[in-house]
Symmetry: C2
């Protein structure tokens, strides 16, 4: 009846009741980042939560950049794992993009981690998902890279902005609407001669729907991809 009933066979998998492992460290990092933001992840707090010392973590992780990239990759992998069969290529791209948007909305730190890991695992996952649908769209081979990287760069841009907004808001103890409010009033006080456009959109900012605007941008690019000649 004891949990030690089969010690011999299973011992190798329980060298310790709560052994450290790369996955456990990454999961703890995600929890910390979600709870306290980008500045909440330090080797001190992480090692405290895992009941160990900072040095022990380095046996499983090469450095902090490696850790945040791995945490980001875990979120991205979960977000993109849905198979997307049966949808039109455009719909699949929209779904993929919105999935990333929602993931970054839920985990803003993913946005900044993404932009700091050029050419690495998480970015490659997104590129691959987009690229496959760009192919399915019938874009000729020599234009596929341009189309896919335009979509990717747009997604990365929005991701980075969302992450920066969230971090700024957290640092100044504002929620999202307070933050937009403060930007909106700042914009509406700009010099009318130098900043006519920005002033004119300051009002919209307060009530606008980030998610809808994001999708509108995706549709703009998709529409451009569909055009016979970009010009």
């Amino acid at each position: 009846m004891s949990r030690w009933g089969m010690v011999k066979k299973t011992r190798s998998s329980q060298r310790r009741e709560e052994a450290l492992s790369r996955d456990r460290i990454i999961e703890a990092s995600i929890a910390l980042l979600d709870h306290s933001g980008e500045s909440g992840l330090t080797f001190r707090t992480l090692s405290e939560r895992l009941a160990t010392g900072p040095g022990a973590l380095y046996w499983h992780i090469v450095n902090k950049s490696d850790l945040t990239t791995a945490a980001c990759d875990a979120i991205v992998a979960r977000t993109l794992e849905a198979p997307q069969v049966g949808a039109t290529p455009k719909a699949a791209i929209r779904t993929l993009a919105l999935g990333m948007f929602d993931a970054i909305d839920a985990h803003p730190w993913v946005g900044s981690a993404l932009t700091r890991a050029p050419g690495q695992a998480p970015m490659v996952r997104i590129l691959e998902g987009i690229g496959q649908q760009v192919r399915a769209l019938g874009v000729p081979g020599d234009a596929q890279w341009a189309a896919a990287s335009a979509l990717l760069n747009y997604i990365l841009g929005v991701s980075g902005q969302n992450a920066a907004n969230a971090q700024f808001a957290r640092a100044h103890d504002l929620d999202r609407s307070n933050f937009l409010e403060s930007v909106s009033t700042a914009w509406s006080q700009l010099d009318p001669d130098e900043y006519p456009f920005t002033r004119s959109v300051a009002g919209q900012l307060r009530a606008h729907d980030d998610r809808a605007d994001f999708l509108a941008g995706i549709d703009l690019i998709l529409s451009g991809i569909g055009s016979p000649l970009a010009q």
Copy 2:
């Protein structure tokens, strides 16, 4: 003949041979960032170069974030100051975007500073420049924000990637072509079943023209803006 000939009148502007000022600090920061990258700007090195102590800088600057945003804004302002008269709106947007691309190519740290200053001066300058041309393009009022922010987010995405690439390359002592080489070979070794698209574009990566790809993305969005209905 002496430079002290008019002491009375000019004394107030030379309280010291090389008085500290916000502008002098920002110029020194730009020089430091250009020479040594993002990690090269510290209050220690900056105060050494200005022959003062770290504390003195805080009389003119609120914190490091303020400093990098101000340095970024100085570059962006110089980049966008050309008047752009007589060009078609599309051409003006292309020129503006390419100007930003070249500025970030010359000063990669501007890319990451931009993405970390949401809704602040440097970003507003770019938004305004784009927005004015979007208006001139005849985009209806309620679609202007979507069009301008799509272009802005795309530019910010590329900027962030260029900055990240440059920082990664510098950190690993690679030049640009070595960096692309390493990404390209990494991509070509991915699992063919899971990453068919990324593998197929790995080769193009080595020789591709960042600047041309960037412009192709701008044209894709412009083409979408020009379409009667994005869908």
